[in-house]
């Protein structure tokens, strides 16, 4: 049956360098779980620790309740898909896929049968006798997945497997990966620096920065309710406006900013004291052009530049010495856009903005 993966206060150090600091989380069986973070944040090290190539310096890794200390990578119920796929170039596609079975001394006929079944599943029937280099990037991708599945693991670990593909293929493979995961019902643990991948595919996302897991939540919560300034700025685009707290009523706090008083939601239901230094994060698509004067959050801005990107138009604005970005849906008509002098009033809904404290010790 599906097995939970538990990281129990795992830290990983190399010499004096701490790659992962006190990772503590549970990945439930059957989940699509992503670690999202910039390169060098320790996410790959963490994955190698789960697969058994790296030992934790402190803490434990448990899979299905069993402590994995001293259990080698070849003895764990995990299969790792490498960033460069690590397909064996001298073997045929079928031999690649059947390699885990060859290891278990499954007979030649049966290996071939299973390889053909898996090729059927990844929609590459009849390619078993080809050499790996005869396949396209996306096909290699799927062969790597099939090879990992042939090992019949409980947990599939994927280390940025889509990063080598071009944009179109990457987007296609996202859907495909998610579909495969739901079909086979395995736990997928996915490493990526691409927030789009993490948000579209995952049940749960852990955002990592400098070895520390900053937030674990479902994609919508990660995007809409970031808990730390890093998450707010790393996941998606954000306008960050610094200020000090004026007042708070319920969950809404008002900051005094160079752009005037602005109201947003206090992150995590916290209560701020007046004069506390905070930052308000509001996403470009949550800013809108107010054709009639809004009740709150009135920002008088000047249009500096704009980019037309098809479905949206990005407006670069200047207000109170801060640069702002606004995504304007092309379908939305606005009289202000047509006006020539560049002065524009923008606003946002208080409950869509997030206010986070500047002091990192208070975040999280």
């Amino acid at each position: 049956m599906t097995k939970d993966v538990v990281l129990d206060h795992v830290s990983i150090r190399f010499g004096g360098y701490t790659a992962v600091e006190n990772a503590h989380l549970t990945i439930r069986g059957g989940e699509f779980f992503s670690f999202l973070g910039p390169s060098g944040c320790g996410k790959t090290t963490l994955l190698r620790c789960i697969s058994g190539f790296v030992q934790p310096s402190a803490g434990r890794v448990l899979i299905g309740g069993e402590d994995m200390r001293n259990v080698g990578p070849n003895k764990r119920p995990t299969a790792l898909i490498f960033q460069n796929l690590a397909l064996f170039p001298l073997l045929t596609v079928a031999e690649n896929i059947a390699f885990p079975l060859e290891v278990r001394r499954v007979g030649r006929k049966q290996r071939r049968k299973r390889a053909d079944e898996l090729l059927e599943m990844i929609a590459l029937p009849g390619t078993g006798d080809k050499k790996v280099h005869e396949l396209s990037g996306g096909q290699k991708q799927r062969v790597a997945i099939a090879r990992a599945l042939a090992a019949e693991p409980d947990i599939l670990l994927l280390d940025e497997p889509l990063s080598a593909l071009d944009l179109k293929l990457r987007q296609h493979m996202r859907t495909e990966l998610r579909a495969i995961q739901q079909r086979v019902g395995l736990t997928f643990i996915y490493i990526t620096h691409d927030q789009g991948e993490a948000l579209t595919m995952s049940d749960q996302v852990a955002v990592m920065n400098a070895g520390v897991i900053e937030q674990i939540d479902n994609p919508e919560t990660i995007y809409n309710r970031p808990r730390t300034p890093f998450v707010a700025s790393f996941v998606g685009e954000s306008n960050a406006i610094h200020g000090v707290v004026l007042s708070q009523t319920g969950r809404l706090a008002t900051l005094d900013t160079p752009l005037g008083p602005l109201t947003g939601q206090a992150a995590g239901g916290r209560t701020y004291l007046p004069k506390e230094r905070c930052t308000l994060f509001v996403r470009p698509e949550q800013l809108f052009i107010a054709d009639t004067p809004p009740e709150v959050n009135t920002i008088k801005a000047k249009r500096v530049n704009e980019e037309f990107e098809g479905s949206i138009r990005t407006l670069y604005l200047q207000a109170g010495g801060e640069a702002l970005r606004l995504y304007h849906m092309n379908a939305a008509v606005s009289a202000a856009l047509a006006s020539g002098d560049g002065a524009v009033t923008v606003s946002f809904k208080p409950e869509q903005a997030t206010i986070l404290p500047d002091d990192p010790a208070l975040s999280g």
Binding site: G52, P73, A79, A86, F88, F99, E102, V103
Partner: protein
């Protein structure tokens, strides 16, 4: 020849005509004057009689198969095989194969560790350790092995004083010293050939195989060895050819009853003064060795191109 022309055209467009003509001229000189012509001259001599100087160019100076006939049948005139000389050749080839296999077994792990496990200072130390012995002259090295393996040598001394054996072992007569000396001499050629091939292997492939449950044995058999194969082939070719053609080491380290085929060639040239027969024997050695190498390459499915890589 067309590929040579294409090469010179590419090369001259990149490095200028002067450099290109120098490289082409040097390579042609090397191949034609230093390899092809001497071999052809030797081949020609091997088909002639060993005549006294005044008769060279005279009516008796004609081509003959005598020298080759002598190798096969000796003085028996076709009645019996020349068991002695054929035996020496066979023994030389078997010994060269043994030395080559010994070097493969010795060098594969070294090359693998050098390419994939050792790093930084450790790797540099290993390479230096492999190279330093070659600062010592060939002959000296052979004599050093004689001292090492002699009846009163270091190994017998240690073995006797530790009580591992109670009579000095004659390593020289048993050819242990010879095999050890030859294998040692060509270790470097084998290590670097295999290293070149193994180094191209992506480490992730080893880890991927491990992750899928493969034992170390299987990782090497299925993943590393196929990549190392061309390197092993080129190393083995060099070691085999050089061992079969070695002269100094067999002379110094060989047992008293043990003759290397090169020693026969040497005797025909120098002691007997019969250059024609010496040439024939040298040609036989070359052809047999080449045939053997090509046969091995066919058996192990290695192409010439793979060796050149």
């Amino acid at each position: 020849m067309t590929s040579l022309a294409r090469f010179s055209r590419d090369f001259s467009s990149r490095h200028g005509t002067g450099a290109a003509s120098f490289v082409v001229a040097a390579v042609l000189f090397w191949i034609v004057f230093l390899i092809l012509l001497p071999q052809l001259a030797m081949l020609d001599v091997s088909f002639r009689h060993n005549l006294p100087r005044p008769e060279v160019g005279g009516p008796r100076d004609v081509h003959t198969l005598d020298n080759y006939r002598y190798f096969l049948f000796g003085n028996s005139g076709g009645a019996a095989l020349n068991a002695l000389d054929i035996g020496v050749l066979t023994k030389t080839l078997v010994a060269a194969v043994l030395v080559t296999v010994l070097d493969i077994l010795l060098c594969y792990p070294i090359a693998f560790i050098l390419a994939h496990s050792a790093s930084g200072a450790g790797a540099r130390l290993m390479v230096i350790g492999l190279i330093v012995p070659f600062w010592i002259n060939d002959i000296l090295r052979a004599f050093a092995f004689r001292i090492l393996f002699g009846a009163t040598g270091v190994i017998n001394g240690v073995g006797l004083s530790l009580g591992l054996w109670d009579q000095p072992i004659d390593f020289i007569r048993a050819d242990v010293a010879l095999y050890a000396g030859l294998a040692y001499t060509y270790v470097l050629l084998m290590v670097f050939s295999i290293y070149n091939a193994v180094e191209t292997l992506d480490r992730n492939q080893i880890e991927a195989a491990r992750d899928m449950g493969a034992s170390w044995w299987r990782v090497h058999w299925r993943i590393v060895l196929p990549v190392a194969k061309p390197g092993i082939a080129s190393g083995a070719t060099m070691v085999f050819m050089l061992t079969a053609g070695a002269l100094a080491a067999p002379q110094i380290l060989g047992g008293p009853s043990n003759l290397w085929f090169t020693q026969l060639i040497y005797q025909w040239f120098n002691d007997a003064g019969d250059w024609a027969r010496g040439s024939a024997y040298a040609t036989i050695l070359l052809v047999v060795c080449l045939a053997f190498v090509f046969l091995m390459m066919r058996i192990f499915r290695v192409s010439i191109g793979a060796i050149g890589r």
